[in-house]
Amino acid sequence: MSDDPKALLQRYQPKEVKVLKTDRQMAILRFSPCGNFLAAGGCDATVRRWDVSNAEMAELPPLTGHGGWVQALAFSPPPLTLLPQAGERGGSSSPSPPEGERGRGEGRLFTADSWGRLTCWPYAEKEAQPLWSVEQAHDGWVRGLAVSPDGKLLATCGMDQKVRLWSADDGAKKQELAGHNEDIYAVAFHPDGKSLVSGDLKGVIQVWDLESGKVVRRFDAKQLYLLSRLQDVGGVRCLAFDAKGETLAAAGTKPKVGANVQGVPTILFFDWSSGQVKHTLSIGNDGDGYIFDLHLHPAGFVMAVTSGNPGVGKLFFQRPADPQPFFLYTKMANCHSLAVHPNGQRLAVSATNANSNGNGRQIGKGTEYPGNYSPIHVFDLPTAG
C-alpha cells in the first residue's frame, strides 16, 4: 500500500449516499456479518433495523423489550461463506476461526441495555422475538458487549464493575471476572480467542486469561481519566484489536474539565506483546470531546468518530503514526457510532440533528417540546482496489 496520504484518500475516501431517518437518538450502530442489515441501539429502549441489501434501505419493525438505553450491541461472527476472501480489502477486524470451531450463534444479534438486560435476537426475521433474554445480566447499565471469535461466548461489562461471560447459545452465565474497582466501559476479545480485555472509568485496562479467569496483565490508559471536583471524567470508552491481534486501540478523551465535559479525542495504540503505548493519536481541541467509536482497518489506519460540544463531530481516517488524518469530515454533528460493512466498502455513522442544544424552553415552534434524533449517514467507499 502506498504511504502517500493522497493515495490513501483516493483509495478510501467515502461518499455519502443516503441518510436514514430516525425519531430518536441512537447510541450504537453495527452491520450484520451478512451485510444485509444495519442495527442501531436506541436511547428509547428499542433496537432499530434496516434492510440495507438494496438502495431503498427500508426500516424493519423495531425490537422491543429493553429498558432505558440500548448502548451495547454485537452480531454473532459471520458464516464462512460470507467472509472476505484472502487478499480482499475490508471485512471484519476479527478473523474467523477455522471451520468446525464455529459456535451456534450465527444469525444472531445480541443487545444489552442500561437496566441490565441482555437479549439474543434472530435479527433477520421481520417480527423477531428474543431467542433468550437475561433480565439482570448486570446491576444497571451494561456498557460493553463483545462476541468471541468462535461465536460461543459473549462478554459484557457495566456499571456494577463486573465482566461476565455468557453462553451465546442460551444465555447461561459461564463466568464472572471481578477485578475492576470502577465502572467498566468496554470489552473486546483478542482475535486468538484466548484473552479478553476490559477498560474502566479510571483508565485501567485489564487483560484476562479466559482459561483461568485471572488478570494476567494491566495496560495503563490513565491519561483518559481526570477527577474534576466531584466528577470522574473520561474513561476507556472503546477498545478494538487489529485483525492480527498485534495492536490494541483504547479510546476516549484526554479530559480537561468535567460538568460541560471538555477534552481532546484521543486513541492510545498499545503494542499487544509489550503492553506499551506505541502511538497516541489526539485530534482537535478541548471542545471536540470523545472518540465514541472506532474500527481498525486491515490496511493499517483507524476509522473513528468523535462527539464534543453540541454540533461538533468528526469522522476521520488516520494512520497511528501520522500527524494528521488523511480523511476528515466535519459536516455531521456529534457522531456517536461508526459501523463498517463486512465488505469494507460501506460505512454508517450515527450522528445528531443540528441545533440539538439550548437553555430553556424552545420558542416559536409551537407547544410541542422537541426532542433530538440521530440521522444515520451512509457512505460508500471506492470499490477499486
Binding site: 444497571g140 471524567v233 470531546g289 462527539s307 456529534n334
Partner: protein, 429 residues
Amino acid sequence: MNFEYLCRPLEHRMSRRQWLGGVAGAAVGALGLGGLAQPAVAQELKKKHRQVLFIWLDGGISQLESWDPKPNTQFGGPFRAIPTSVPGIHISELLPKTARQMHHLALVRSLCTKDNSHSAGVARIQRGDPKNRGVTYPYFGSAVAKLLGPGDSGLPPYVWVKPGSGGFVYQDAGFLGPRYGAVAFGDGKPPENLLLNPALTEADDEARNALRMKLDRRYAERRRKEWTEANSYVFDMAAQLRKQARLFDPSTLPPRDVERYGTHEFGRHMLLARRLLEAGVTFVKVNSYGWDTHGDNFNGHLSMVPKVDQAFAAMIEDLKDRGMLDNVLVIMMSEFGRTPRINGHVGRDHWPEAWSLVMAGCGLKRGVVVGKTNERGTHVTTEEHDIGHMFHTWFQALGINPKEHSYDNGGQPLPIAHEDCHAVTELLA
C-alpha cells in the same frame, strides 16, 4: 452624619458581648458529640434555636437523574427509578441511600422559575426573586442570619463551606449590610492565619488588638456604621473561631463518620457542616460545584450523585439520631434543573420550567411529594411554584411569618419574601 436608614432592629443585633457569651455553650455542641448524641445532649440541642442547612449544587443537578425520574420515556435517560421508604414514591437509582431516608424528606417537583442563566439564576434564586425595589436583597443565608440571629453559639450566624477559597463574603447580605455576610471556609478549612503566630504571646496579641480597636474607632468616626461594624465583627469572629479551631481538625472526627460521609470533597464538607450545626451555627451553606452538565450528563451524574447521596443520607440520619431534625431545616437545590432534551454532547442544558428540590426538617411534613410533572418531564401539571413560594415556605417552617415580618431598611419596609407568592401549605407540618 445620619445613617438612620440602616436596618438595625435591636432584637437582632449581635453584640460583641453576645458573641463572647456564647462560646462556652458552643464548645459543648461542637466538641462533645462525636458519634451518636446522648439523650441529654439531644435534649439540650432541641432547646436551641432553629437552624438551616442549605446545600447548593451549583450549576444545576438534573431532576431526571435525581428527584423526578421518568424511566423509559423519551427524555428519561438511561437510569432506573427505585422505590423509597415511602410507598409510592420513587427516585433515581443513583440515590439508594437517600431513598431509605425518604420518610424524613419532602420533595417538591413543581418548581417553575424564571432564569435559565447561571449569572442571573444563582443570585435570583438565593435572594428569593423579590420584586425590584431598587435595593439588593440578601441571600437566604444572610436573611436567616438577620431574622433568627446568631443564637448562643458565639459563632458566626452564616457560614459557608465551599470548595476553593474562603473569606468574608459580604456581598450576600445586600441591603442588610456586610455584617450579615457569609463567613466562607474554603475547602472546609478555617481562615488562613487563624491561629496565633507562635512568636506572639497572648499579651502581645491583646496589646495589638487594643491598638487596632483604638484605630478602628478613629476610622469609624466618619464612615458608615455598617462597614465599620463589619470590620470589627470580622476580628471578633476570628477570635471566637480561634477558640474553636478543633471544629476544623479532621483528626478529631470518628473514622466511622468519615467513612459514612465519604472521603470526597462533598463528604468532608458535609461532615464539617454537621459539626457546625452541632456547634450551633444558625445557617450553614455547603456548596458543590460542577453540576452544569451540558456534556456527558449521565456519566457525570453517575459519578457525582452517589457521592451526594452518601453524604446527604448520612446527614439526615445523624440529624434525626441527634434529635436535631426538629430544629434544623435542610434544603438541597440548584439554580434550575436540566433540560429534558438530551443534546448532542449527551448533556442536558438549563431548564427552569419544571424542576425539583428536596427538603427535610423543622416545620415540614415528612415523607411527602408536592407537585407533579407531565409524563415526559417537560412541564409542571400541578400548581407551579416559584422560588418566592419556597421562601415563604422556608420562613414559615422556621417560625417566621412572611406576611407579618418585614425588613426595615432605614424606614423603608421591605417584605422578606415575594408578596405575590405564598407558602406551600402541603409542605408545612
